[in-house]
């Protein structure tokens, strides 16, 4: 079995491409993906900055072909087709590289803002969604559990999570380049999701004059407003709110921009020469990109924020050396576990082989002896104990050796010596190991 990861992120694809692949409900596409023969298990991670599929397959070539088709046909469903150079935006990792990439993603080492705290939650959400739609099986499930453990280690053992550089913090830094003081400024948040909630938490300490939350669902806006001492509004109030606002932060679902050029132009007429700072972290974007052409309007989308944070990210990157070491260590640990799976069919077969001999010989012997129930039980236990003791050392050795590339020779030798049949099935595909049993609870 092989692990493959295919996807695109903020480094490989522009926002214009990423926003077309954004998936709100991953269940449908995932179920379709794992229904195909090429993919045995899969998890789809879809965030503002990345869309990635981590999959288990028996054939890398077949999986590669299927996943590329999945990205270009199933995920891009807006009817506009994909750009001719779409393949250039995709990256692919297989086996160890795929494992390493996922561990880095979960640990926020591959994030636009290195060390940001949101990605771990997003990866956990992706894992949960895959479990719920039975796309995630024991091996990919174990990989994700391992990724969460790694992320936890990175956060507790390194300084990368100290003073996390969030989108809100970058936005505040930028706001200081635009405004002299933030104490007399009004902010409008459009949306009421996790990103807006995180931004509200970060902006709470900045001391803005007022914050308004506008959302499609007024109840959710009201809930946030109560928590963060803001005011709640419906989306229809956006034109009025923007006309009196200095900072607008948008992150709301939907395919059409909620902040159009007309709204901002109308607001500008009322604002005279006061600058307006717009931060759009929605994917797809919530604002018309044209508004950036307007004077006194400074629009930053998620890619722009990444670009301006690059200098801060450089400082943070220096702190990631230790984090990368943790990832390497955990990757090797998972590699070992995953490689040891190769020994499972041989071990199962060998156990079955020995058990068959034991049972056969025991039955022959018991037929010749006149023993009571108690004695028969004792003899059976004795034969089991002898078989287990004989097998213990070689099986342990096989497991250990299977973790190394060279260990395959031991497996081959065992098969030859004991006359085991080839063509055994991987336990991961056995009836008890099919999808839907994604492992233990998420940490």
């Amino acid at each position: 079995m092989k692990i493959i990861l295919l996807g695109l992120n903020h480094k490989s694809a522009p926002l214009e491409v990423r926003e077309r692949l954004a998936v709100d409900d991953v269940a449908g596409p995932l179920q379709k993906l794992v229904a195909a023969d090429e993919i045995d298990e899969a998890v789809l991670i879809s965030t503002c900055n990345r869309v990635e599929v981590v999959a288990l397959t028996r054939s890398l070539d077949a999986a590669r072909h299927r996943l590329r088709s999945f990205f270009s046909r199933d995920l891009v469903s807006d009817g506009r087709g994909v750009p001719g150079d779409f393949d250039d935006f995709l990256y692919e990792f297989a086996e160890r590289d795929a494992i390493r990439h996922l561990l880095r993603v979960a640990s926020a080492l591959d994030s636009m803002v290195v060390g940001e705290p949101q990605i771990l939650g997003q990866v956990k959400d992706a894992y949960r969604a895959a479990i719920e739609c039975e796309a995630c099986g024991p091996i990919i499930g174990r990989l994700f559990q391992h990724a969460f453990t790694t992320a936890k280690r990175v956060r507790t053992e390194t300084r990368i999570a100290e003073r996390p550089l969030s989108v809100a913090r970058v936005a505040v830094d930028l706001a200081k380049q635009i405004f002299e003081e933030l104490g007399d400024k009004r902010a409008v948040m459009i949306g009421a999701g996790e990103m807006i909630e995180a931004a509200l938490a970060a902006l709470n300490g900045v001391g803005l004059q007022s914050i308004a939350v506008a959302n499609r669902t007024p109840e959710r806006a009201a809930e946030l407003a109560v928590r963060f001492e803001a005011t709640a509004h419906g989306l229809e109030e956006i034109p009025h709110l923007v006309s009196t606002a200095d900072v607008v932060l948008t992150c709301i679902g939907g395919d059409r921009p909620v902040l159009t050029r007309e709204i901002v132009e109308s607001a500008r007429r009322k604002r005279r020469s006061h600058p307006l700072f717009v931060i759009d972290i929605g994917v797809p974007r919530n604002t018309d990109p044209e508004i950036d052409r307007l004077d006194n309007v400074y629009l930053y989308d998620i890619d722009d924020l990444g670009a301006v944070a690059s200098e801060n990210a450089e400082q943070r990157r220096q702190q990631t050396v230790h984090a990368e070491a943790v990832v390497n260590e955990e990757q090797q640990r998972f590699d070992g576990w995953f490689a040891a799976l190769r020994a499972v069919p041989t071990i199962k077969h060998l156990r079955a082989h020995v058990e068959a001999i034991r049972v056969g010989e025991l039955e022959k012997m018991l037929a010749k002896l006149d023993l009571g129930e108690v004695e028969r039980g004792r003899v059976e236990a004795l034969t089991k104990a002898i078989a287990n003791k004989i097998l213990h050392a070689p099986l342990a050795r096989l497991r250990r050796e299977a973790e190394r590339e060279e260990g395959m020779a031991y497996l081959e030798t065992a098969r030859v010596l004991f006359g085991l049949d080839d063509g055994v099935e991987s336990p991961s595909l056995g009836a008890e190991g099919k999808r839907g049993s994604g492992g233990s609870e998420i940490e």
Partner: protein, 265 residues
Amino acid sequence: MIVQLHQLTAALYLIAALVASLGIALPAPRLGRLSLTLLGVASLAHAACFGLLHSGNATPALTELTMAVSFMALVGTVFYLVLAWHTRLVGLVVLVAPLAFISVFAAGIHLRVVRPAVEKTAGGSWEHAHVLLASAGLALLGLAGIAGLFFLVEHRRLKSKQAIRPRFRLPSIEALDRVNKAALAVGFPLLTLGVITGVFWTEAQTGRVFSGTPHEVWSVIAWAIYAVVVIARFATHQGARQAAASAVGGFVFLFFAVIGLEFFL
């Protein structure tokens, strides 16, 4: 005494400029604030220097170009310091301090050969008032131009999404716009008074209100340009970027009209 004090002033401006530059190079915000303090001390010494000049001579050599430029530097620096007291403008010191140093250094060379007394000429008090007011106006409009220039730099940086410089920063564009506005609001009336007193001076000297010298012609054109800039800024909905560009363009023209012509003609 005056010469030594002028030299001390120049040295203080130079140190302020070096400390400000070091503050950017390291970068170290504390050095930025220190340079602001040094600039304040230098401007006090500068003011004392002009005070001594006035007390020692009824008509100090302000009508000399270098001394006029030195006076402009003093007015511009003091106005900047007043604004910096209320607004986060530390970043501008990196340009204000070197300009003040160059002005005072040039005036210092002149001071060594300054004549003990200036010959009284017809309309001497108008001349003095004209130079004082026009220099002050030019200084403030120069400050508006510097703020406008920095605004355009910051505006371009923000629009092109360049990386945030985490420590030492230029003032915010809002602060720069405020400086531009304030300097224009005070500088234009001073320039207007400078033009009016210039007319009286010309009238006292030649008997006509307008003698048609290149200085007069270009100065009146520059004033007219600024009048348009001021109307656009305060009476219309002109955007901050256009206001900044106007301040830069206006000052370049005014500088040429008032000082550049001295070299070309």
